[in-house]
Structure formats: C-alpha cells, structure tokens
C-alpha cells in the first residue's frame, strides 16, 4: 500500500504537479490530514487495535461525516485530533502544523479544535452566558464585558436570545446543543469536532438542528468533523462521508456527496440521495456483519 510518511509526501500525492507545497497563513482554515494513524490499547497478547493504518483527509471548510459500526474506533480518532488521547504511531496534521506524531504522540488540546460532546458538556453550574464566554475568558483573550457582548450577539444569531441567565438544566436538550455549538464558535475554531452530538435528540429536534448546523457553516468558514451512526444524517450533512471498517478502524470507502447546498429536507426523497444511501448502507452493512461475527467469536 502506498502510504505517505510525511506531510510533504502526502501533499505531493494529493496535489497536482507544480502546485505550491506549503499552506500559506491566509489559507489556514482547518484542513485535517490523518496519516497512517494507529492506536493500540494495551500491549502483548492482550493488545487491541482500535485504529490501524488510517489515512484520510478532512478538507478545509467542509463537513466530513464519519460513519461506522458502534465501537469501531471513530471516537478514538476524534480524541486523538482533540488531544484527549495519544496515538501509537502515525501523524495528524492541522493545516501545515503537526498535531501529533513521532516524538509527541498526544496533541495539546486547544481552542482551535473544539469538541461538542455526545452527551453535551455545558457546565451545569454556569449560566448559559457564563458557559458561552468561558473560552475567551480562560484564554484571557477578551475582557468579561467584551466576552459577554460577543456571547450575546452569537446567542441572538443562533435564536437563543433571552436564555443568557438560565442554567443549562433549565433549557431543553435541543437548545443545550445549540448553546454548546455557540460556546465552541466563540473561540473562532478552525475545526469543530462533533461526536454524535444529536444522538440523544428526538427526530423532530434533530431535523431542525441539522438545518441550523448547515446555516452555521454558511456563516462561519470552518471545518466540521462529524461522527454519527445515522446514515441519512451523514449524507444529508456531509460534503464527504467516510465509512469506517469495523475494529480496527480505517476508511473502507469515502463517498463525495455531490448534492448542492443549501440542502433541505426535500432532498431526502430524491433519487440521488437514495442512491447514496444505498451505497453507504451496503458498505456499512458489510462491516456490521463482520463486527457481529467478531463479537460471536470473542464469546
């Protein structure tokens, strides 16, 4: 297999001959490159490979959705990008800087890559506005007054006006997710990492959240890395869908979704959408069967 070992090699593979090599400062907008990443838990006979020789690109300013059987190692990958876990080998790049690789196997978590968690992680002891202003306040980037002002503007933009002084426990779960995304945007991140953020939501709320997320992408130039196991969601949102193999995790198939934005729900019933869905379903089903068989064997 031809796996690039360095950023230069990878860039050479990815770019047409003669194109400039380095990414200039102005073009920095959150392209992630995952190069031959392996993550093994434990060692010796009990070692379990969660991710193995995983290589793919998350293009800047686009939504990349990642689907795969549950427990396949998608979250491991997200944690490696965010800097919550180390990797065993390989490299991860954010634009032209190396996040983790040989020598420094764990990335430093930072506000350029903000995670929105599966079960939500708004601090229940802080009001909505305190939560939203948290990032710039901690980094010392903005004064309290500036941070609150910006928070109010962003909250109002997201249709969350009037909730500033409520605690997260007092608002609905759909609103909590929106607040959490606003909290992330306050930091002007290059990348938004979402780990099945809408899993716990009912389907009606979910559909509204999808459109809100797409609108958000229009307003802010940023890259979205979105883990889900809802295939419709993956295709509806993504510029590209990365279908993962079962443990150890690596891309099985990468689908470019050639549907125009802004997308709306009428798309779900179109022929092309259905074709994408069939294609995805087939790949995922194959992996699910493998995962099931592996589970049987372990028992």
């Amino acid at each position: 297999m031809n796996v690039p070992r360095t950023w230069d090699e990878a860039a050479a593979l990815a770019r047409p001959a003669g194109a400039p090599l380095a990414v200039s400062q102005a073009q920095r907008k959150g392209a992630i490159r995952i190069l031959d990443v392996t993550k093994t838990y434990g060692s010796g006979a009990t070692a379990v490979s969660a991710v193995e020789n995983c290589t793919f690109d998350v293009p800047a300013g686009e939504i990349t959705t990642v689907v795969g059987p549950s427990g396949c190692g998608k979250t491991t990958l997200l944690n490696a990008i965010a800097g919550f876990h180390s990797i065993t080998s390989g490299k991860i790049f954010l634009d032209d800087e190396i996040l983790c690789g040989p020598g420094q196997l764990q990335a430093e978590p930072g506000p350029d890559r903000v995670v929105v968690f599966q079960n939500g992680a708004l601090f229940p002891w802080k009001t909505v506005i305190e939560n939203v202003a948290f990032g710039p306040r901690m980094q010392g980037r903005l004064s309290k007054k500036q941070a609150y002002e910006k928070a109010r503007t962003l909250l109002a933009d997201a249709g969350l006006h009037g909730l500033e002084n409520n605690y997260p426990g007092e608002i609905s779960s759909g609103m909590r997710r929106r607040v959490e995304i606003v909290r992330a945007l306050m930091n002007e991140p290059r990348v938004l990492l979402l780990d099945e953020p809408y899993r716990a939501l009912d389907s009606l709320t979910k559909s509204v959240m999808h459109e809100a997320l797409l609108q958000l992408l229009e307003k802010n130039r940023l890259t979205i890395f979105f883990i889900t196991h809802d295939l419709e969601e993956a295709i509806f949102l993504g510029h590209q869908v990365v279908i993962m193999t079962t443990r150890p995790c690596r891309p099985k198939k990468i689908l470019t979704i050639d549907l125009p934005y802004p997308r709306d729900y009428s798309m779900l019933t179109t022929r092309r959408f259905r074709d994408y869905l069939d294609e995805t379903l087939e790949a995922v089903h194959e992996e699910a069967l493998k995962a099931f068989a592996a589970g049987e064997k372990e028992r």
Binding site: G83, V114, V115, F117, L163, R183, V208, Y265, S266, L268
Partner: protein
C-alpha cells in the same frame, strides 16, 4: 414534497414556540417573589397528606412510649421516665432536677455543645474540603496520603480519648479534637468522591476551550464536586454531634453530653431524656442550616431540581 416542507416548517415553529414557552416559564418563576413562593409551598404541603402522616407517626411513637411506661408499666421499663414526667420536667418553671426551658443552665449547656460542634465542623470543613479535592484531583497525592487516611478512618473517636487528653491541654481542645475527627473523615471522603464523580467530558471541554490546569480546578473541579461536598457536610455535622457526646461524657463540665452522663449518675432520669431530645432538635437544626446554605450556593442545582432557588 411541499407537504414535507410544510410539516418541517410547522415543526420549526413548534420548536420555536417551545423555546418561548420555556422562556415564559422561567420568566414566570422569576416574577414570583420569594415570600409568596414560600407561602405557596407551605399551602401545597398542608394540602398534601404528608404533614398528617408525620403527625400520625409522632402520635404513634409517643403513644407507644406512654403505653409501655405509664399505662402497662412493663417490667423492662420500670426505671424509664414516661413522656408526661419528661414533659412536666422540661416545661416546669421550677424543675425538680434543676434543668428546664426556664433555667439559664439549659441554654448554657446547649450553647457550649453548639460552639464545640461549630468550631469542630468549621475546622473539618476548612481542612477536609481542600484535602479531599486534592485527593480526587491528583493521583500521585492520593497515593501518598490515602492509605494513611484509610487506616486512621476506622478508628472510632472514643479510641482517641486517651491520646486527645495527652496531646491537648485543658478541657475544650480535646473535646473539639474528638468532635473534629469523624467530621473530617466524612468531609474529606465526600469531597474526593465529588471530584471523581465529575464527568470526564466537562474536564475535557474545559481544556478544549483553552483553560489551564488551575483554571480547570477552580471552574470545573470545585463547582463540580459541590453537590458531594454538601452531602459530606450534612453527614459531617451529624457525626460531629455523635462524637461530641462521646467527648463530653469523658470530660467537661458543660454540654448536652455532660448533662446526659451526670443525670445518669445522679439518678435524674427525666433530665437524661431532656438532654437527648434537645440533642436531636439542635442536631436537626444544624443539618437544616447546612442544607439551606448548600442550596443557596448551588443555585444551578436548586433550580434544576425545581426547588425555586434565588432568582
């Protein structure tokens, strides 16, 4: 297709309506003043069966006591003071054994005990909360300290009495030390568990948003452990009264434990029960005060649990 679109639009407005309903709800809660809220709560309580069940419980308890001691005069209870004897002594302006709500000594005993508990409780909180937070926060610190802590914890305060007397001068300090011990363990352990109970995603989110280690400690660890800390403080104030009485029975000239012990040696049986009931009442009151402070400091929790909170 248009149908679908229309449905989604209506959903959208529905969700929008939901948002404003939520706002209306919180707005409403805010417009109600605190005293009116209290009145409403009390009204609800009186309309529910709870107060009457509680009264019935008390009546059954007192009735059994009265029946076994004063009516049936069961042999086992021959020496036991009956409720009428206790109440008569307790509310007598001229008590037979010198202690009733009309005597200054009664309040002096309460005050001395209360002061010892408060000092011990505050010391235990001031040392136990930080210790517990650090134990939960730093694995290395825990490895140094926790084994010693776990070895000392099962030793009951009574076993410390001789050492307490040897170590500390006077009457007050040994008693306060004994009272402090059990509170300290309860507070420390709960603060530690509080830190361990914090969901990892909160800590990760804080780092993600650019917080430094000490900022995570102040903004995530401390408030996140708060519910457990206050549970610990309620236990702590309870066990403080436990060990206080043990200490006061050993030494001292005042205090409710002393009252109970001397009344026994001087055969003033109704006074024993007065001391016990007073302990129960004062102990309950302190625990309520701790709970109120907890709810006040943890607005987010009080509001989440629908307790109203400070608006």
């Amino acid at each position: 297709m248009d149908d679908l679109r229309a449905t989604l639009d209506s959903i959208d407005t529905k969700l929008g309506a939901d948002a404003s309903a939520d706002l209306a709800y919180t707005g409403l809660a805010r417009s109600v003043s605190r005293p009116r809220l209290v009145v409403r709560r009390v009204g609800q309580w009186l309309r529910s069966p709870r107060p009457y069940l509680m009264l019935l419980g008390f009546a059954l308890f007192m009735g059994t006591w009265y029946l076994t001691v004063e009516v049936l005069k069961l042999p086992h209870f021959a020496q036991m003071p009956g409720p009428t004897a206790v109440l008569h002594e307790w509310f007598s302006p001229d008590p037979a054994f010198g202690l009733s709500i009309y005597t200054a000594d009664y309040y002096l005993h309460i005050w001395v005990s209360l002061r010892r508990v408060l000092i011990a409780f505050m010391l235990a909180t001031a040392t136990g909360v930080p210790l517990g937070l650090f134990l939960g926060w730093s694995q290395r610190f825990k490895e140094y300290v926790f084994p010693i802590f776990e070895l000392l914890r099962p030793i009951p305060p009574l076993a410390w009495v001789p050492l307490a007397i040897i170590l500390f001068q006077g009457v007050e300090t040994p008693i306060i030390f004994l009272t402090f011990l059990a509170s300290f363990y309860a507070t420390t352990l709960n603060a530690m568990l509080g830190v361990q109970s914090i969901e990892a995603s909160y800590i990760r989110a804080a780092y993600c948003l650019g917080a430094k280690r000490w900022q995570v400690f102040w903004h995530v660890i401390v408030p996140g452990a708060m519910p457990f800390i206050f549970t610990g403080l309620q236990i702590s104030v309870g066990v403080a009264w436990f060990s206080l009485v043990a200490g006061e029975m050993v030494s001292g000239q005042y205090g409710l434990g002393y009252v109970i012990n001397t009344s026994y040696t001087m055969v003033q049986y109704p006074t024993i029960v007065i001391g016990m009931v007073t302990l129960g009442l004062v102990g309950y009151a302190t625990s309520v005060v701790v709970r109120i402070i907890g709810n006040y400091l943890m607005q987010w929790r009080a509001r989440e649990l629908g307790l109203g909170g400070r608006q």
